[in-house]
């Protein structure tokens, strides 16, 4: 125990003296949390559209108005022909083409239905998907309006009208930061846990000081614990910092309790530190450790459900997310912050993460050999 205290004193002294490291560890989360949610957003504004209006009727004008009034779309140009409109897509001045055919108004009034063409530039698939769905909902709205004008109730179509209103449960305004911030917090903790701890140990290997430790009676478990504790504490500090920023900058309050979040975060940090330590036992130098850590981190982040939903992944990928500690944390963060889940609700995830922690740390301890 005394030896552990002695080692901890050394670790903290070294960390506090390392200006560069401190800068990265505390400024990084602040910057990431302040910039990313605001900058990397799915909310589309200023979708620029090019309109080919072959009808020039009051209905076609009304439709176009509805698009521009929504605030999401910007009218870039009126084109004479579809080919002209296509040119504006090719030189990137517009993202979307709307073509209203000849006799649009006449067809609509006579036959009670008409077609228009919407073409979106899908080089950016996400943008195209979202633009199209905005367009579709604007058109649905337009349909509602004209139905009320064109179809007198009871005269032509006695079917009951069902109007659908929808709202987004747990995040009604689709406030993007609410969605992203928990995910970013998780990534930050993973970076500190995975990367920093791994690099720290490997740098001792490189400098040769680890050999000096190996030749002393220090038990390897003691040594490993002395590495876990400081980074765990730093992880918790960063987590708190992140939650404070969420609260005061983005006004994101967890619907569930902070307690649940912290308990999970604490277990998660230990698990991820275990991963970092494990990586360090397999690496001889910092370069190797960084590449291995990066490899894992990127796969974990992309497969975590932070940016893309797990449910839309193919089956094999969904199975892989079960092995990804990040996916559990992202899920729990959102459940607790947005849905208000209690600790009991996330017990399964908590136990899974504890399982990860036990396996990874045990593996790391077993793999670390004082005698080669």
């Amino acid at each position: 125990m005394h030896i552990l205290l002695v080692l901890l004193k050394k670790e903290f002294t070294q960390i506090l003296r390392n200006r560069f490291l401190l800068l990265i560890m505390f400024q990084m989360p602040v910057i990431q949390l302040l910039i990313l949610p605001l900058a990397a957003t799915y909310e589309m504004k200023n979708i620029s559209m090019s309109v080919v209006d072959k009808d020039h009727s009051s209905y076609s004008a009304k439709l176009i108005d509805k698009f521009t009034a929504s605030g999401y779309f910007k009218l870039n140009s009126y084109a004479d022909s579809y080919e002209k409109a296509l040119e504006s897509i090719e030189d990137n001045t517009s993202d979307l083409i709307i073509e209203i055919p000849e006799n649009f108004e006449r067809t609509l009034i006579r036959e009670k239905k008409a077609d228009i063409l919407i073409n979106a530039n899908a080089i950016d698939g996400t943008k195209a998907g979202l633009s199209s769905s905005y367009a579709a909902s604007i058109i649905a709205d337009f349909n509602k309006d004209i139905r009320e004008t064109l179809l007198q109730p009871g005269k032509l179509n006695p079917a009951p009208r069902i109007s659908i209103t929808y709202s987004n449960w747990f995040n009604p305004t689709l406030h993007y930061p609410t969605y992203m911030v928990p995910g970013i917090l998780v990534t930050l903790l993973s970076l500190v846990g995975g990367f920093m701890a791994a690099l720290n140990i490997v740098s001792e290997k490189e400098k040769g000081t680890i050999e000096q430790i190996n030749v002393t009676p220090v038990k390897k478990t003691t040594f490993i614990v002395s590495k876990i504790i400081p980074f765990w504490i730093i992880g918790m500090i960063i987590f708190t910092l992140g939650l404070l920023i969420s609260r005061f900058v983005y006004h994101i309050y967890p619907v569930g309790t902070y307690g649940t979040l912290y308990i999970f975060a604490m277990a998660y940090m230990i698990a991820f530190l275990g991963l970092g330590l494990l990586i360090s036992t397999y690496s001889d130098n910092q370069q190797q450790a960084m590449f291995i850590a990066f490899f894992f981190l990127i796969i974990f982040i992309l497969l975590s459900g932070e940016f893309t939903p797990i449910t839309s992944m193919p089956d094999w990928a969904q199975k892989m997310t079960k092995l990804n500690p990040l996916s559990y944390f992202v899920e729990v963060m959102r459940l607790v912050m947005l849905k208000g889940s209690s600790f009991r609700d996330v017990l399964t995830q908590f136990l899974t993460i504890c399982g990860f922690g036990v396996v990874l740390n045990t593996w790391a301890v077993l793999n670390y050999k004082k005698t080669s």
Binding site: H2, L7, Q14, R17, K207, G208, V218, S372
Partner: protein, 247 residues
């Protein structure tokens, strides 16, 4: 003579099909300054790592301070000091913090640690510099500090791996003063070096060539048996055979 503090019998270490250390057998007595000589790549560091519990032998027997190198490495580590070629001090800690760290690791605490720390600082004349980071002090200081820390807990044996590389002649000699003083206190010193004049400071010397011990005796007797005027000549004679074989 006194007790044997290191005993080896046909100690061997192989890496794949390369035999780094080839059935070496020797004993080291308590309080000796034992020089372990050999060219680079002869197997000195590998042998030393086996004796200090950093590496498991492939075959053969050895014991250090009465403990077996296969099964009792942790007990060996409690009773030895070690100074690697890189000196292995923490560069981002101060002189004082390094002393307190390693002292603490070896179980020194409280008043005892304080006394030993002050004695060390006084001995090396570093009292006024104790708050300096190790990264900022000259190489000669690091060397003496690393050695003093290695014997702070008064181990039975201290292993030194090429401790005098790269320092000026005066610093080198001041370092050997420290070794002399340690041996006088009863600490056995096991030192590897490729400076042949340093071989003369040792009570006995062994010379390793291609993983085998080709000579083991006091410097004076070695010079007589090899009809040589200096340890350098003795070494040249023995090493010459190896260089022809090695490449």
């Amino acid at each position: 003579m006194n007790n044997k503090v290191i005993q080896t019998e046909n100690l061997t270490k192989t890496f794949g099909d390369f035999t780094a250390v080839n059935t070496i057998s020797f004993d080291v007595y308590e309080g000796e300054i034992f020089g372990f000589l050999g060219a680079n790549g002869a197997g000195k560091t590998t042998a030393m790592r086996m004796l200090s519990g950093l590496s498991t032998p492939s075959s053969g027997k050895a014991s250090v301070a009465g403990f077996d190198v296969y099964r009792q490495t942790e007990s060996i580590k409690k009773n030895i000091g070690y100074m690697s070629q890189k000196f292995s001090l923490y560069e981002d800690l101060t002189i004082r913090e390094n002393i307190e760290l390693f002292g603490g690791i070896y179980g020194l605490r409280g008043r005892l640690l304080q006394e030993k720390k002050m004695a060390l600082l006084k001995n090396l004349e570093l009292e006024d510099d104790q708050m300096k980071l190790v990264s900022s002090i000259p190489l000669g200081w690091k060397q003496k500090l690393a050695f003093s820390i290695a014997i702070l807990h008064e181990p039975r044996v201290v292993f030194l791996d090429e401790p005098t590389g790269g320092v000026d002649p005066i610093t080198r000699r001041k370092f050997w003063d420290l070794i002399y003083a340690a041996a006088a206190k009863g600490i056995t010193v096991f030192v590897t070096t490729h400076y042949m004049d340093e071989a003369e400071y040792c009570n006995r010397v062994s010379i390793m060539v291609d993983g085998k011990i080709e000579a083991l005796d006091s410097p004076d007797r070695l010079k007589i048996t090899h009809a040589a005027g200096s340890m350098d000549e003795v070494f040249q004679q023995l090493a010459r055979r190896a260089v022809r074989k090695a490449d």
